[in-house]
């Protein structure tokens, strides 16, 4: 199978405190997944599940404690910046923080063109930038010489996507790209992702806590919990019929924009986040409605159920049989 990006057994540990007193937290624990060309892959989960950490490592902003990342068959090394060699770009959560408020927005575009030697003349550069802006529904005239505060959040997020496109990347990493964009404009961003995939063949690693847009836009999805991928497969399978108890809980907790689908059941909440991180067996065992004895002591294996990866003891029998 053709894999654009392959992440193998990625682990990231942070140590807190000083030399004498140290606590080690595992933010990402043996995370493995791959992304195919022209595919939107979602990494979903609540805050602290390790999805952003994983993205930062894939971008080379942080270093993994262990594990490998392979771009197009070539392993990612420390020296070569991936966005230069492998065409990986990113867009961020807060559009107002993506661009320096004291600089004009177009300066970033020209800088990128210069740094990557994408044009020989000024006019060529402008044409190149204009082409990218038109993809997101803007034009060079509209934005040249303007500062970030002269745009709305939705516009800035689209400009941010255009900037990522300047280098013609194969992969765009989008970390919560719509969570700070107003609901009425959110779909314009999400639809852009589809367009990039279908028309330009760009793959997108979509990182979000919003399962509804994930369902709408992505092909495959991985659900993370406390550093582990606990379920991974096609969005139809994972979101329409979640297998892992946590996936079910997460899916059911998304408030549906339909008064007929109000919640009827109640949830129990975990109070001690750190305790869940340091838990020995399945990290969800503390509040799993279907908990078994084995869950508290043994880490469940990655099982394949109907082509979906599930990290849960509940399915160990089906696996054997």
């Amino acid at each position: 199978m053709d894999k654009l990006l392959e992440v193998n057994e990625l682990t990231k540990q942070y140590s807190q405190g000083n030399v004498i007193a140290r606590v080690i937290l595992t933010a990402a624990d043996h995370v493995s997944f791959y992304i195919k060309p022209a595919e939107i892959f979602t990494l979903a989960g609540e805050s602290g599940c390790g999805k952003t950490t994983t993205a930062k490592i894939v971008l080379g902003f942080e270093e993994a404690t262990s594990g490998t990342i392979v771009h197009n068959g070539k392993p990612q090394t420390r020296k070569e910046k991936v966005w230069i060699t492998e065409g990986v770009q990113a867009i961020f959560q807060d559009p107002f923080s993506t661009f320096n408020p004291l600089r004009t927005v177009d300066s970033y575009f020209h800088e990128t063109v210069q740094n990557f030697k994408l044009a020989r003349t000024k006019q060529e550069a402008i044409d190149h930038i204009d082409k990218k802006l038109r993809l997101v529904g803007l034009s060079y005239q509209e934005f040249a010489g303007k500062y970030p505060n002269e745009f709305s959040g939705g516009q800035l997020q689209r400009i941010s996507i255009a900037r990522a496109l300047v280098t013609d990347p194969k992969l765009i990493i989008a970390d919560e790209p719509v969570s700070m964009v107003d609901a009425s404009l959110r779909m314009s961003i999400v639809n852009l992702f589809k367009k990039l995939r279908d028309e330009l063949g760009v793959s997108i690693l979509y990182i979000t806590h919003d399962l509804a847009t994930a369902y709408y836009v992505s092909d495959r999805i991985a659900i993370m919990f406390r550093g582990n991928i606990i379920e991974m497969g096609s969005v139809e399978q994972v979101l329409m019929n979640p297998r892992h108890p946590y996936s079910k809980l997460l899916r059911d907790s998304i408030p549906q924009a339909d008064p007929k689908l109000r919640w009827t059941s109640t949830v129990t909440l975990s109070e001690l986040e750190q305790e869940e991180y340091l838990r020995r067996g399945c990290k969800f065992a503390g509040r799993c409605p279907e908990v078994m004895d084995i869950c508290k002591g043994v880490v469940p294996a990655d099982l394949s159920v109907d082509g979906v990866l599930v990290k849960c003891h509940k399915y160990s029998d089906t696996q054997k049989g």
Partner: protein, 335 residues
Amino acid sequence: MTFLKRYLIPRLFQYFLVIWLGITVVFLIPRLTPNDPVMRMIGEMRGRGSTLEPGAMDGIIRDLTQMYGLEGSWLDQYWAFWVRLAHGDFGVSFFQFPTPVNKLIATAIPWTLALLLTTTAISWIVGNIIGGLAGYYSRKGWSRTLDAIAMVIRPLPYYIFAFSLLLLFAYVVRWFPITGGASLGAIPSLSWAYIKDVLWHSILPALSLIILGGAVNFQTMKLFVQNTNSESFVQYAKMGGVTEDRIVSKYVIRNAILPQITGLALSLGQIFSGALITEIVFSYPGLGMLLYRAIINGDYNLIMGITLLSIVGITTAILVVDLTYPFFDPRVRYN
């Protein structure tokens, strides 16, 4: 992680490291300067017109070299330096030869401590209270007036401010005595008359330190309070209908004071330097005056003694202030 391991031990480690660094710098300064302190000393003796025979000169050079601890390699010297310090031996003074530096410092220190501790405490407490209230009621007239006064006093260096006070209150209007820690000829005793005399003499130096330090505390506290005032927890308390006196004391000032504690620790070195200068201006018989006499007389040993002692004293005082900080901020106490 326990509080001890997380906060206390690293802090103590830092304390000893700073002392080590400071003392090493003091050790290195005479050795790194392009100037042999012994020869300079000889030069100064010549300059004062004393003539010596060549033989006696060699003897003096040897004595001085020994006294400065300049014998042997730098490493030997460094070791000997620490051994002497460990014995609390700062050598002898030149201008009051052969009184040990220790003894001179010991007579001066109570004066400085008394002046410094009271003025620092008063200026910190008064400055913070007034600054806090002025910050909360920053739109009131009295707050603006105080702010304007602080704007004028704050930038003045210790020497200029103390000297201006002296000019004003001791020469122009003769309200206070010009110089000294007590009247000439007064005999130290625990009598009321003597204490009154000492207090009377200390009013002007103390006042100059309190006003200047108070202005700094006033301004920073005012700013902190204005910032704290816009914090969500203050807004939230207001929205919960908490009474104003509770908001001012337990929400605004209680939180705004935290950076002031750290600020006090950080500025103790400057406050101390300022106190020395103030003593010189008012001829107040503390460490500053001793330092002045040492400078006038080129008494390097005495200056070094005062410096070393000050480094240890100041860092210890800062440590004490820093260690009280967790009592005020639970976030440091519990991870």
